[in-house]
Symmetry: C2
Subunit: 386 residues, 2 copies
Amino acid sequence: MPQSPIRKLVPYAENAKKRGIKVYHLNIGQPDIKTPQVALDAVKNNTLDVIAYSRSEGSETYRAKLANYYAKNDIIVNHDDIIVTTGGSEALLFTFGSIMDAGDEVIIPEPFYANYNGFSTASGVKVVPVVSKIENNFALPPIEAFEKLISPKTKAILICNPGNPTGYLYSKEEIQKLSAIVKKHDLFLVADEVYREFAYDGQEHYSVMQEDGLEEHAIMIDSVSKRYSMCGARIGCIVTKNKDVIATALKFAQARLSPPTYAQLASEAALETPQHYFDEVIDEYVARRNVLIEKLNEIDGVKVAKPKGAFYCIAELPVDNADDFAQWLLEKFDLNGETVMVAPAAGFYSSEGLGLNQVRIAYVLNKADLVRSVNILKEALNQYKG
Amino acid sequence: MPQSPIRKLVPYAENAKKRGIKVYHLNIGQPDIKTPQVALDAVKNNTLDVIAYSRSEGSETYRAKLANYYAKNDIIVNHDDIIVTTGGSEALLFTFGSIMDAGDEVIIPEPFYANYNGFSTASGVKVVPVVSKIENNFALPPIEAFEKLISPKTKAILICNPGNPTGYLYSKEEIQKLSAIVKKHDLFLVADEVYREFAYDGQEHYSVMQEDGLEEHAIMIDSVSKRYSMCGARIGCIVTKNKDVIATALKFAQARLSPPTYAQLASEAALETPQHYFDEVIDEYVARRNVLIEKLNEIDGVKVAKPKGAFYCIAELPVDNADDFAQWLLEKFDLNGETVMVAPAAGFYSSEGLGLNQVRIAYVLNKADLVRSVNILKEALNQYKG
């Protein structure tokens, strides 16, 4: 089982805190945004007196309301096209287990969400990476690059849209290119769309579920974690029109009995979140992104891809090994008693040797803290080089 | 992925209900017992305004209090011997993934909790069954039977104590026999002890964690589901003194980020449940068991093992195929508009052809409903034979 790259520096951060150093966490996707009141209230006002199993596929009412939410997002599905899972993590694990056998292959543009490695290992599946580049803002690699990697063992292409860790938002045209190739080779197109709402600069998110003729191939992974700042609820889902996938995923769901009951209450209520909540959140993230990218670009030798969605960016730093640098930031450096924690990007690549001088930065801190963090990073880079 | 035998009759039960038939559910382990008020209140009175990730291994305070709870049960562990999981299900899945590779084998006395099959399949691991018999109340099979099955691929022996579906409570002597054999062959002894409190007739539960010298071999699986009637919370844990197992299981835990936050609040508070809650619950289950066993024994041709723990029993029925009979109960039979749903026991066996005339009955209904259910079963058996 591979070590999560986001977590491996945790002991160094804990030691830094013990030494009295304030650590700004640019390394994790835990937003500081308040959970919608309507979701918090649903749990506080619940009247359950037996915390019983729910249905393995998730409560009937929640799935029905979810289908309505998707319809508003131009994704037309029924409640029985949905299996509620314990977070997007479990949705990925069930999907891998349902569509692949041990030894099968899934093609994923890299850098990718590092835990895809863990779920692959747990399912005995091999990740075949296709490189996307910082120079192109991590756009979809040429479709020929995918084509070259397809083998008899290839069962699926997996994308994250908008992307963690890249912040890249795939265009409709890019989704259609992927759609064509999965139809041609009879593969699944699995799309992790948990950041759907986080699309910036007037761009629209285009889901694999919107693509005509892709019904048997498209599997959408979703989660309430980021949408409603409810990471700890642990509710996600699998959405697909493919009945065989639903039937197999249901067996996985039944084996683990049910998704968490309280969290389903919160998630169902969260669907009533007023639009102004999202407007404010998106405004806030755009402002954070802008200040972060502007400040990072002011540092000599730093190259950064401008994210169009989610709340991450990949930055290339003027260091040989971002892993060592990230550890040094926590072990040896502080600026007036403060330092930053970043996620070394090599763990988001599957190809050995890629991303060694890159880090992922999550802009989940307020603007003032982000500015402060980038100043710390700048001074650290000065001293590290010198 | 194998189908859960407990779930496969669900569509028939739903159809029966649509026809206006009342169905008594003897098939599932969802207790009707109220969750402790202290746990319900902890959630209702929570003051969280961001439902954030917890630590992947579970919150520090919860694990510390869990260690205290175990100490009261003569199980001496530290908080860092514990990884909090999303239900006992995930604890089993992480354990299988941590101690076995694809193709490895785990020996399990059958009949066993059917979802062990699902977790084995998901982990690519092979279940090797060793038969326990209704004639012996499903006591531990002779240790020689285990010995014969041990191969170079064997990595663990898994028991459920007290047993689901058997209700059997292993004695200290039986645990010590298992302890000797796992030490001799350097295997793990995994014990699913989620029914620890449900030990009847003055018998004491003896944990694998109490056995001296077994520290590197013993892994305990636990859950709040049955103890506090909080099945829907989805909180369990892995407990072991083996640091390598903890380190590997932590990687699985990190890949799925965290166990559910609300449910951890409930579970931490549940540790303050007053003793009289358990006393009342145990009294209730003993009374239910007694009336159930007495009534079942009054039916011609029914043989039943008397359970010493948990809240299940296996009953042998005078039918050729309990699967067909269970379906018939839901599709073709009613007594004054009522019928019963039972879990055919074949799904709890791994050996083909065993348990075909057995069912698992969960005594999670009140006494009056249990009596009524057994009367329905008796009349059904009359008609089914005739």
